[in-house]
């Protein structure tokens, strides 16, 4: 941190952890690293512990946390893909997130247990913990989180930062208009000098999940069947658009609806990641048709080229009143006039959906046609997909390893003295 000639470098790492809970996944890892250690689906499989493991399943690994006391009525929590993506009878998939914040605290506790035990592999009382939160996180949820960290996990220090602020930091800005296109929603949050303007933040429920639902509807209308991949025993190589020939696996009985839906959603998401693309300007059948199609093979073996559909799918992100451009304009115009030029000058796009090819270009273009002409518009997004998706986590990683940040933590002493009421003051 300090060089030979008294030079002071920016970083001082104190072994802090950064958690970035989202609707799609929880990102967790050590501060000052450039990617999270783990990116865990934000759902937990809850099922009976007493089941006969499948033949291919090697059981005794520790990825399973147990709870419940009465024998026979025990519930096990299956976390992370290796456990979760296994067909287990009676395993319900539940999420702990709701409306951008943690809602089911018992489940979230299980998730944190897993993080400390399997990802961090180090006692929680050694590591200050920095959490990201959505701008509209309610006060009870924030206080509950602080309480959990200090009282259950004995964290030496804790801090909460708005994810928009961190995304701006990750892009090297302290003032930015952050467009976060996540799974459950898209939001536009103005950030001034490292503070998010809460009352100017806007959001819409159009996000990655919506896109997956759209993809499902679209494939349904095209009469293309999305077979669950775990149900396929084998498939034959066939020609394009030919009827799929496959044999099905015998699955254990009692697979829950929620689990099947979850697995299918993953598949639709995969389809979107591979196929969906944002067109340069508002969707137009003819220009979209002139772009070469993209090939996709479904789990059953059926495969075909997708042409204009790819562009049509993503139009929902740029829709009149719920799309990202509108959100940006709404957020900017509810800011003070003095702040607007700076905000228009650095629009930052982040979140998983911002990885869709063409997203940033289209956003820039739409904004250019809407932004007041007296402002210089500049939009920006991290170059690599991982940096876009993990923007908030990376910002947290940077922040928690800056020397001058170390005075900001709420320490356990402070918590003991001041209680959780000080959260509002200390973590604005």
């Amino acid at each position: 941190m300090s060089g030979p000639n008294g030079m002071l470098y920016g970083g001082d790492e104190i072994g802090a952890l950064v958690f970035d809970p989202g609707h799609h996944s929880l990102r967790v890892g050590y501060a000052q690293e450039d990617t999270p250690k783990a990116d865990i689906p934000a759902v937990i499989g809850v099922g009976p512990a007493t089941h006969i493991p499948d033949a291919e399943e090697k059981v005794p690994d520790g990825n399973v946390t147990q709870s419940g006391t009465k024998a026979g009525n025990e519930l096990r929590h299956y976390i992370d893909v290796t456990e979760l993506h296994v067909a287990r009878p009676g395993m319900e998939v539940q999420t702990y997130m709701k409306d951008g914040q943690v809602d089911n605290w018992d489940l979230f506790e299980k998730m944190l247990d897993y993080c400390y035990a399997k990802v961090i592999r180090s006692p929680s009382e050694h590591h200050p913990a920095l959490f990201t939160e959505a701008v509209w996180t309610t006060r009870p949820a924030r206080e509950k989180l602080a309480e959990l960290l200090f009282e259950k996990y004995q964290a030496p220090a804790f801090f909460l930062v708005k994810n928009a602020v961190l995304a701006a930091f990750a892009n090297g800005k302290s003032t930015a208009l952050v467009v976060d296109a996540g799974a459950s929603q898209t939001s536009a949050v103005p950030v001034i000098d490292g503070y998010a303007l809460v009352s100017a933040a806007v959001r819409s429920p159009v996000g990655g999940d919506h896109l997956a639902a759209q993809a499902k509807a679209m494939l349904g209308s095209m009469h293309i069947q999305m077979l669950p991949i775990y149900s396929i025993q084998s498939k034959e190589v066939i020609r394009e658009r030919e009827r799929a020939r496959y044999t099905l696996k015998t699955l254990p009985a009692g697979l829950t609806h929620s689990w099947q839906q979850y697995m299918l959603k993953r598949q639709y998401e995969d389809f979107c990641h591979c196929v969906a693309q944002v067109s340069e300007s508002a969707y137009d059948e003819r220009t979209a048709a002139s772009v070469p199609g993209l090939h996709y093979e479904f789990p059953g073996g059926y495969h075909q080229d997708f042409g204009p559909e790819r562009f049509k799918l993503t139009e929902c992100f740029f829709e009149q009143s719920l799309g990202a451009p509108h959100l940006v304009c709404a957020a900017a115009s509810s800011c003070d006039a003095d702040a607007r030029p700076a905000l228009w000058g650095s629009v930052v796009a982040c979140g998983g959906v911002a990885n869709t090819p063409g997203y940033l270009d289209r956003l820039t273009k739409e904004l250019a046609s809407r932004a007041p002409s007296s402002h210089r518009l500049k939009s920006h997004a991290a170059p690599s997909p991982a940096e876009r998706r993990f923007a908030a986590w990376i910002g947290g990683s940077i922040l928690a390893s800056i020397g001058s940040f170390q005075q900001m933590w709420i320490s356990s002493q402070e918590y003991d003295e001041g209680g959780k009421g000080q959260l509002e003051r200390k973590c604005p």
């Binding site: 002071l8 007041p372 020397g403 001058s404 933590w409």
Partner: protein
């Protein structure tokens, strides 16, 4: 190997048995063969040219095989620091920037002495004025602000380091009414000002001492509000409004260009008129360089008065904002004829003085002659002194009259053109041209002075519109 040496014209080094030894010690063997005879630069050859010719292949052979014989690679062991690695330890530290003395751990060199946490120096805070309850009651009471609200404001100022945009965003709207940023700033700076009068507090950002004298920052809320409002309006313009404004701006530019053009023409006309005026004065002096001097005093004063008058007119004209589109096509040249000064030396015929100067064009000459003929005047009279003078004056006046006539016709034409234009744009309406400027019918019979007045005086211009 030998082949390459031949091609490169390198002296054959004799026994060229390739072995590890010969490769490794290659440079040593070669050393024996290096011919030391330096090629002399021929007399008169430039050094640069010689440098191009000079072949240094004997000195600095490029390696043909990758070898490890170079000095740098010869040392088998890298001479890295032979000192022991300095230890790093996971050491506790406390941060003086924290108020709670919490202990965190970080990596540091075991050898480094424990000093104050270096990043604590970045802990900078804005100093915000504080007040006691009695001070508040004495100096800061306000009808608009309760003490609770003021306290909240000061607290927010401290928390957000005077970032008023953020303060406004996080303002406790449940407990207090919504206030604009300007309201917040006004109150804050008002408090600073009142307190700095009674206290000597070092809240550096609002009070500066210039030459030992306290200067308090005065926040002009009204002005700021107006500025914000204007800014907001500027930003909230719709695309149509912006386009319209752009259109208006280009129109304005066009109008201004036209106005300049018109002024230029008015000036030209003025010149013509002034020429006509001085033509009316019976003693036109054909010698231009002493015109002023030969005027009678009364003439001089009237001339000055006129000029002054005209200047005023011109000013009025230029301040007129209305787009007057008259006289677009009128081009008025300098008119009248300046006859050359009588030559002072040598013998010359007086008829020379009657010769038109070369500046007068063919057409004008013809037109003047035509006029003269119509008046039954000989175009080449006997050049007595008196005839010479009068004949020249007459022709000068004729030239001026012709120019004015032309100008009048042009104006007349413009007027009619505009009338037609007006009637085309406003179908059904007719533009009645006031009689005072309507010369189309009886223009010829009007005396010259009146016509001039029509074109030149602003009152007439006003009446055209």
């Amino acid at each position: 190997m030998a082949d390459i040496l031949d091609i490169l014209d390198i002296e054959h080094p004799g026994a060229t048995e390739i072995s590890r030894d010969s490769i490794i010690h290659g440079d040593k063997i070669k050393k024996k063969y290096v011919t030391a005879k330096a090629v002399k630069r021929p007399e008169g050859m430039h050094r640069e040219v010689f440098a191009l010719l000079y072949n240094d292949s004997n000195k600095d052979l490029p390696p043909l095989l990758p070898t490890d014989t170079g000095k740098a690679y010869k040392q088998t062991k890298a001479k890295l620091g032979m000192r022991k690695a300095r230890k790093w330890v996971w050491a506790p530290f406390s941060n003086p920037a924290r108020k709670d003395n919490a202990v965190f751990y970080h990596w540091k060199r075991a050898s480094d002495e424990t000093k104050e946490y270096p990043f604590a120096q970045f802990n900078k805070q804005v100093s915000i004025p504080s007040y006691t309850e009695s001070e508040y009651n004495q100096y800061l009471k306000s009808e608009d602000w309760s003490q609770a609200e003021t306290d909240h404001l000061m607290d927010m100022c401290q928390r957000f380091d005077l970032r008023f945009i953020v303060i406004h965003d996080r303002w406790d709207r449940a407990a207090f009414r919504d206030r604009s940023i300007e309201d917040l700033k006004e109150r804050y700076y008002g408090i600073c000002a009142s307190l700095s009068k009674v206290k000597t507090n070092p809240w550096s950002n609002t009070v500066t001492t210039v030459n030992g004298e306290k200067r308090i920052y005065h926040y002009d809320a009204e002005h700021e509000r107006k500025r914000k409002e204007q800014l907001r309006r500027l930003f909230d313009r719709t695309q149509e409004q912006i386009d319209e404004e752009q259109m208006l701006l280009t129109e304005l530019k066009k109008i201004e260009a036209r106005k300049r053009e018109r002024e230029r023409k008015t000036q030209d006309l003025q010149k013509l008129i002034s020429r006509a005026d001085s033509g009316n004065v019976p003693t036109v002096n054909p010698v231009p360089n002493n015109t002023e001097g030969t005027h009678t005093p009364s003439n001089a004063t009237t001339n000055i008065a006129r000029r002054h008058d005209r200047k005023l007119h011109k000013k009025k004209l230029s301040t007129q904002q209305r787009p007057v589109r008259t006289m677009e096509a009128v081009t008025v040249e300098w008119s009248g004829i300046k006859f050359p000064e009588a030559r002072s030396t040598g013998v010359w015929l007086r008829s020379q003085r009657m010769k038109l100067p070369p500046g007068v064009g063919q057409r004008k000459t013809k037109a003047i002659e035509q006029e003269l003929r119509q008046m039954n005047i000989d175009i080449a009279p006997t050049p007595t002194e008196a005839i010479c003078k009068h004949f020249n004056e007459l022709r000068s006046d004729l030239a001026l009259a012709l120019d004015l006539k032309n100008a009048l016709v042009a104006c007349e034409f413009d007027l009619q053109a505009l009338r037609h234009q007006y009637e085309a744009l406003n179908p059904g309406k007719t533009l009645t041209i006031p009689a005072s400027i309507c010369n189309a019918t009886d223009g010829e019979t009007k005396p010259m002075g009146e016509i001039i007045d029509v074109v030149g005086s602003p009152s007439a211009l006003n009446s055209t519109i």
